[in-house]
Symmetry: C2
Subunit: 237 residues, 2 copies
DNA sequence: CTTGAAACTGACGTAGCGTCAGGGTCTAGC
DNA sequence: GCTAGACCCTGACGCTACGTCAGTTTCAAG
């Protein structure tokens, strides 16, 4: 008759979970109280609580209950699970961040929902996903986080300004191979580098996307024109 | 018998959705094809497609199907919906980012899952959430994104270094009010400012948390000692 | 008229519990 | 011993946004 131990309600209060949740974990076999009263009420002992806290801790990492079960039972190695989870979280964060960016963009349309803008955004990001795989998108997201929003805004503002100066140089008849031309090409390359961070995979994907969607990017996204690209590539030779 | 229009399969192919999804939207009343063949097959006209693309666009913003329905029916204002959605996405991103940080922290325990570390993390973030509300957590997250990870790492490394110099000053018998003492206090305030960004609400919450968990923070998180705090506050007077 | 592809309408499954519904159990006070 | 009130029990359905059969019917070409 050693009916010591906490009842569900008390465990719920201490752990911040609900009684229903504890029932759920019990049924799934995650945390089963090792004792019951004669009337069938659950009694949680110290070992049960320890297991419960392990489960809670793993859940805070965002693992599903199924994974948690596999980890506590030893069916999954911890290191591998953590690595998978990190990647999964990166992907989710990237997806949500893109949604947030789209919302911000739509909000700029001030009151009226600009469906055309929204569709352009959507088409754009779909195009984007054709050329960059999940890992690359996560990689880009990481770079953005490392660099910080201020620097990103600076770079985005720098592009039209640089493109204007390139246009001016072309109009003035500047030789691409001249010192001025090569300086412009250097700036151009530096801005590109801010995007792909020197990763050849990212750079190639970006270039392929550019090649295959040139006219659309030029007209709808005010990207660089063919003349500008020609000038820059001539200067880089 | 003007049975023109696209069938579900064709619409699915063009929109990137599945046939099942189109059935689902039809049943929910979101996008109901305005025509059917005599045999009952769905026929989507141009107006239906337009409505479908609006729905798809709104879904890409992360809105639930219910919200999408309310927006397209005009029951919800667009501006308000977008603002709510932005906040909701911020909260989700913040939650996932915290989970990711915890995973990274657990991974540093190298192979062996350090449950004690994990529990400390969890307890810490629970403590944190007692003192900062959802808006403030989002605000902090935004600040971190703006500043960039490099700067954050710099600041985190700067703390122990500064604390060491303060200790040295105390050991050398430096007066808090001396020029050297006030310089240290200035650096101290600048590092704090990096955290709260000058927001008085954030600063007060942080101070309250510090006050009420002083011993724990000092021992488990190698935070500043009482002696150091006394020196700094004396120097600031 | 046949045949293969495509479409139709249910209906169940998913993750992690919330939320009744319709009971028993525990315990303090009388 | 009895009862009231608080607590606990075990089902069972609900929610999101579809995926995935299953069994039947329609379409379009030969």
């Amino acid at each position: 008759m050693d009916e010591t131990g906490l009842r569900v309600g008390q465990v719920a209060e201490r752990s911040g979970l609900t009684v229903r949740t504890l029932h759920h974990y019990d049924r799934l076999g995650l945390v089963c109280p090792s004792d019951r009263t004669s009337g069938g009420h659950r009694l949680y002992g110290p070992a049960d609580l320890e297991r419960l806290y392990i489960v809670v801790g793993l859940r805070e990492l965002g693992l599903s209950l199924e994974r948690v079960g596999e980890v506590v039972s030893g069916a999954l190695t911890v290191a591998e699970t953590l690595e998978h989870q990190r990647v999964a979280l990166d992907l989710q964060i990237a997806a949500l961040t893109r949604a947030r960016d789209r919302v911000l963009h739509a909000q700029r349309a001030d009151g009226e929902l600009d469906l055309l803008e929204l569709m352009k955004e959507v088409v754009m990001s779909n195009t984007f996903e054709q050329y960059f795989d999940a890992d690359q998108i996560v990689q880009l997201q990481r770079r953005r986080a490392e660099i910080g929003e201020q620097r990103i805004a600076e770079v985005e503002n720098a592009w039209p300004e640089l493109m204007a100066r390139v246009d001016a140089a072309i109009a003035a008849g500047t030789e691409p191979q001249s010192e001025e031309g090569r300086a412009l090409a250097g700036e151009w390359a530096a801005l590109l580098e801010e995007f792909h961070g020197g990763d050849p995979g990212l750079r190639d994907s970006l270039f392929r996307m550019y090649e295959e969607n040139r006219s659309q990017i030029e007209t709808e996204w005010s990207g660089p024109s063919q003349r500008q690209l020609d000038f820059i590539s001539a200067a880089q030779r």
